[in-house]
């Protein structure tokens, strides 16, 4: 890696941080626009509360300060990578998120890898059988999965695989209380992972399959593919050595964009499957008006997007020699 590339990455990171910073401020005000505050929610859960109690809570959370001051405190803490305390759990936001992030990364990562692998494979099969029945079958299947609401699929999957067939656990990340260690634990988690990763991944599989198919068909009309054929290569070799590599470029871009977005998109899946990730954490934080936590989740997931975009760029540069990481 050249110095230039390093500078490029550094530059991108700085730009990314600036974007994150603006997002943090934007979110800060957005969230405060919501009616109610965390003290009220917590008081509400208690089933009874008076002004004194509310006031105590607000003081404790620093919510009695003027808004601009709160923003100042938040931002100046953020600059030191301190995201504050959660109101409910009374622990550092960062710790809580880091507690939950691995679960989300595991889920989205698995779904991502599966869907990308499967999607590309299926897309290639469809493209190389362009206009034959298998292409139509794949295209129709991809479209159906693309058009079916995710949560619906999730519910159906639970019904089928957990309730009727009893093959797979319906929720959670591991068997609670089993205290598995080592390999057993891996197997246990893997079992729990199947359904959520599948439901989350199916949609994206459809997306990548469609994209790969289109891109393959388009690329297969390129001149250099003709050159390759003119060399007397077998169709398989042409597909894999020439067409696929070029056709994957747009898929890589899309995948990079979506990898980041998937984290936010996992809210539904995490809810249905009780997966202890940050999507759900965000959802709960929102309704509990746990400002710090919500801002934290947003910050971290936006940071992930920035990070993934950068990684995509780097991968793109490694795959495509025409792109130089300098602008």
């Amino acid at each position: 890696m050249s110095i230039q590339t390093l500078f490029y990455i550094g530059g991108r990171l700085i730009k990314g941080l600036l974007v994150l910073f603006v997002i943090a401020i934007f979110n800060f005000f957005l969230i405060r626009a919501a009616p109610g505050d965390p003290a009220k929610v917590m008081a509400g859960e208690a089933g009874a509360a008076d002004e004194v109690f509310l006031q105590q809570l607000r003081e404790q959370f620093g919510l009695d300060q003027p808004l601009y001051y709160q923003l100042w405190v938040y931002i100046s803490n953020l600059v030191q990578f301190d995201m504050g305390q959660t109101y409910r759990q009374q622990m550092p936001v960062f710790d809580l998120i880091m507690d939950r992030l691995p679960a989300t990364l595991l889920l989205t990562g698995t779904a991502f890898v599966l869907s990308l692998g499967l999607g590309v494979l299926v897309g290639v099969i469809a493209a190389s059988n362009h206009r034959k029945w298998i292409d139509s079958a794949i295209s129709v299947a991809a479209l159906v999965f693309y058009a079916t609401p995710l949560f619906w699929l999730a519910l159906m999957a639970v019904l089928l695989f957990s309730v009727f067939l009893g093959w797979l656990p319906a929720f959670g990340m591991e068997t609670v209380g089993a205290n598995y260690t080592g390999w057993d634990r891996v197997v246990d988690i893997a079992e729990h992972l199947v359904l959520p990763a599948m439901t989350l991944g199916l949609f994206f599989t459809a997306v990548y399959a469609r994209m790969t198919r289109t891109s393959m068909i388009e690329t297969s009309r390129a001149d250099f593919v003709k050159t390759a054929k003119a060399k007397g290569m077998s169709p398989g070799r042409v597909t894999f050595r020439h067409t696929l590599r070029n056709a994957l470029l747009p898929v890589v871009t899309l995948a990079g964009l979506q990898a980041g977005q998937m984290i936010g998109g996992a809210v539904l899946t995490e809810t249905v499957f009780a997966w202890p990730g940050i999507g759900r954490l965000m959802f709960e934080a929102l309704f509990q008006r746990d400002y710090n936590l919500l801002l934290g989740v947003f910050f971290i997931s936006s940071a992930m997007v920035v990070l993934f975009n950068l990684v995509t760029d780097i991968i793109y540069c490694l795959v495509d020699p025409r792109i130089e990481l300098t602008k």
């Binding site: 008076d50 109690f53 009780a274």
Partner: protein, 496 residues
Amino acid sequence: AEPTDGGTLNVVVQPEPPSLMIGIYSNAPTQQVAGNIYEGLLRYDKNLEPQPLLAKSWESSEDGTTWTFHLKENVTWHDGKPFTSADVVFSVDKFLRETNSRLRQSLEYVDSITAPDDYTVVFQLKEPFGPFIGLFETGTMPMVPKHIYEGTDYKTNPANHTPIGTGPFKFDEWQKGSYIHAVRNENYHQEGLPHLDEIYWHVIPDAASRSVAYETGKIDVLPGGSVENFDIPRLTGLENSCVTSEGWEYFSPHAWLWINNRNYPMSDKRFRQAIMYAMDREFAKNALWNGYGKIAKGPISSKTKFFDEDLPDYEYNPEKAKELLEEMGYDGTPVRLMPMPYGETWQRWAEAIRQNLSEVGIETDMVATDVAGWNQKLSDWDYDLSFSYLYQYGDPALGVSRSYISDNIAKGSPWNNVEGYANEKVDQLFDEAATAFPDSKRAELYKQVQQQLVEDVPVGWLLELEFPTIYNCKVHNLIDSAIGVNDAFGTAWIEQ
């Protein structure tokens, strides 16, 4: 059968509690877990009669102003320190006075709390307070360890994360977002208890997932309200599935429609009465609550002391409602209806009532909110119609009067007299009834109050809710007090 020792109990807790420090956080999920770790001085059987717990006996003076409690002598905290009367005085007089707003109001009646010796505590009241002996349940008056909390900032004390109590189970681990784990307290002060080895409270945020968890045997106990009502018949129909409505006697949740008495047309009594006649509460009970519960006649639950059997009924009668509306000259002004954001049932209920009202000519606009927004709007009195259900805490002075007395009209809380009903006569009757002595006198006063309120319809009473607890029949003795799953599972045992 004879109880057997051992086994793991898997319970659902919904939502995940904010903390287990029951002295500070008095909400239901906290108590459901922490009720096994902390204890109060007394517990209450299903007839709301006090039973010994940390106090082995108690007595009151003739005039009901001096209460003396004798504590058990072999009680230790989970960290091994002995539990004494100093802990009681600290807990009630210092800690809870500061942190527990509900108890704080009742403690207004208490003049002093003293500990003549290590195992005796004396409460001196300013005047007789009817519900006093009902205050000693774990959720209302939990004992907290003085040696840990004295002189610290209670809210930020690190021990809040690792609760120390005297209960039958000890806190072990809390995987945020997944489960809370408690294990058997070997040194529990009640001989032979607890039977269970450990308890897991599982956090499963989705109702459908919770019922699947129960079906697949991952969960043994679904406390009331943790699955959608529609699922109850199916789940109870499963093999080995038991169900009980018991364990809510102390709380007696009472549901009603908030009616903002300040604004036209709700300011007109006839309009409020029309609403009562327009609502098909029987349908709602059957369609939405699976027939569980009982239609509420008035402000006091039929399970609570001082309920008046002879109150008139507001039966479902749209014609009557229309007449009343005509009589008052209702001009068709639409009213806003704000459902309670506590799950599907309440949403559906709002839809049903909306339909009921539209059939008698009252048009409604639905206002959607989430919990925070709902709290906010109610406390700001920015609503026309909304829902709520409140606990009765075994005595009208604790759980009923708060919603109707004019002293309690204050912006900022959704739990007081939010409807803005003010009636001097009612105020006075409630006031007298709280301190009247003995109970027969109180009953007379409460009867009058109920008659008056039912006539005025400050709120639209809906249903005495029942939250059936569904559990695997292999679990025995699950519910043995008036607070049900919110109490410790000390006597519960699992058939091996």
